[in-house]
Symmetry: C2
Subunit: 318 residues, 2 copies
């Protein structure tokens, strides 16, 4: 008898997170891998391995869902272009279902996160919602009139590659001053490092002294520990995030903007300055109506959403 | 016997343009007014006068359509908020139909322009299109899946108030570095003036010497006449416009982005640099698929679109 369980996998620019997810959306048998810098062949091998590892713990899964940081043609299951992983032009669904011998679903990672938040998280009940996931990069998802918006060619809502600082820092996509270059987890690390170099005797400076680079995660931990300089970095990133959210508010007038991804560990240290910028820079009346909330599934929203995609495949075989 | 003719009115931040529009979308009896700086009462009076003037020339019109630079609740016909005209909270449709004794339709001016371009202009046949109108400010309209997108509260797609330069020049909305502050007709005038002050002997400088301020229109005329400095101003504005369009492309993957409003008089002097920025800064594959085109109705797109709104009202009385 089928258990109704599936595997959800969220592949980011740095880390991959997998889990077996049950029908109540509880996660079992989590598997983590660092995938940064892998070539395409090795990356796909790791994805297969991770599924096999989860299946060893829970053999009876009905399907596998993937969230990947790509513009995905959801009808064809093809990864058209990707800034952070070598997945350009990969017929992802066909290839993975062949290798795994299981039905496979695939979508953009932020779309998957939005699916989880809109079905069972911070955007529950909203007809119009936006999701930004702060990780290595920034993913974006949009719900319009209750439906996931995909753009005309399926890769839409790359909110992270919205230019908010026209001559700003280089972005991994080749442009400059994208929201991703200012407010991702990587940006928190980069800005933390810049602050640390200016003040080697601060907690941030001492943290940097002990290693080659500062991660967004470490800067966030130091901020939670009360380090003023680390808090200033998060506040500055939060203000940039707020400019991006102000744009989303002016264009879409969403009921809620959900912020997820690993860097939402910063919580209110990011969201409070972001809300202030939206209140002062977005247009009336939408600015007063929007709710800006942390993902209820935290940094597991993408994985749970990928599992929901897989559950949809089990219910409606393609 | 009804002629099928209606009146279309496009009210911008500076000028109002009205015309009687026939079923083939030909415009007759154009009326212009400068409305900049008028108070609410006077502004509404001028709108009534203009309709009366057009009706004097063509008594048999079935309805009047207005495009106004406001966030409009299209169901209620209420102007919720407006940056450039004193129309906050005005129950526009009810008030105007009462004063005019005719059915009235009202929508955001850029939505009206997009309607004209999508039914009979540069976005004909497109399922996903965006419109930006460059005038006193910048208006924005979006067509998603063949339908005008209004945002969750009806005032959506304020593409002109997308921050593209986070610490940039002040915008009339109270924010900074909005696309409107960098690429509107007003921005062309302001940047032309800055260039003129630096070079009082140039054509721009001499033009400024003769008057108090430079208009975007005059800078554009000098650019068409071959003045290098004026051309540089348009190229710079075109690049800022390109950053805004790159954002639109990354978020929506539209088939076409139509550029209208008075400042589209700059034509390819604006659009060519904009296209280059989109090609280098937007994401593959959407950047290669999008067409960036001047409005076929030119700066009359808003008026013709307002007339189309009026025709829809005649066909489907509310």
């Amino acid at each position: 008898m089928p258990t109704g369980r599936v595997i959800g996998i969220d592949a980011g620019g740095t880390k991959l997170l997998a889990g077996v997810v049950d029908e109540r959306l509880l996660v079992h048998h989590r598997v983590h891998r660092v995938i940064r810098g892998l070539g395409q062949r090795k990356l796909l091998e790791v994805m297969v391995e991770v599924v096999e590892e989860a299946r060893a713990a829970e053999p009876d899964v009905g399907a596998v869902g993937f969230g990947i940081p790509s513009r995905v043609d959801a009808d064809l299951g093809v990864s058209e272009g990707s800034v952070h992983l070598p997945l350009d032009g990969v017929p992802f669904r066909a290839l993975m279902s062949e290798r795994l011998g299981l039905p496979v679903a695939v979508d953009n990672d932020a779309n998957a996160a939005l699916l989880a938040e809109s079905r069972a998280g911070a955007a529950r009940g909203a007809r119009c919602a936006a999701m930004v996931t702060l990780g290595t990069g920034i993913g974006g998802g949009l719900l319009i009139d209750g439906e996931l918006f995909r753009g005309n060619y399926g890769g839409g809502a790359e909110l992270g590659h919205m230019i908010v600082d026209i001559d700003g820092p280089e972005c991994s996509c080749g442009s400059r001053g994208c929201l991703e270059a200012l407010a991702s987890g990587s940006a928190i690390g980069r800005l933390g490092e810049e602050a640390a170099r200016k003040a080697p005797d601060s907690a941030l400076g001492r943290a940097l002294g002990a290693r080659e680079e500062l991660s967004g995660r470490l800067v966030t931990e130091l901020a939670h520990d009360g380090d003023e300089m680390a808090r200033d970095v998060l506040a500055s990133v939060g203000r940039s995030l707020g400019a991006g959210i102000a744009n989303i508010v002016n264009i879409f007038e969403p009921q809620v903007v959900v912020v997820g991804g690993g860097a939402i560990a910063g919580g209110e240290l990011l969201l409070e300055p972001a809300r202030k910028v939206v209140a002062s820079r977005a247009l009336y009346p939408a600015r007063d109506r929007v709710r800006i909330a942390a993902a209820e599934f935290g940094d597991e929203a993408g994985m749970v959403g990928a599992a929901l995609l897989a559950m949809d495949v089990v219910r409606t075989p393609y």
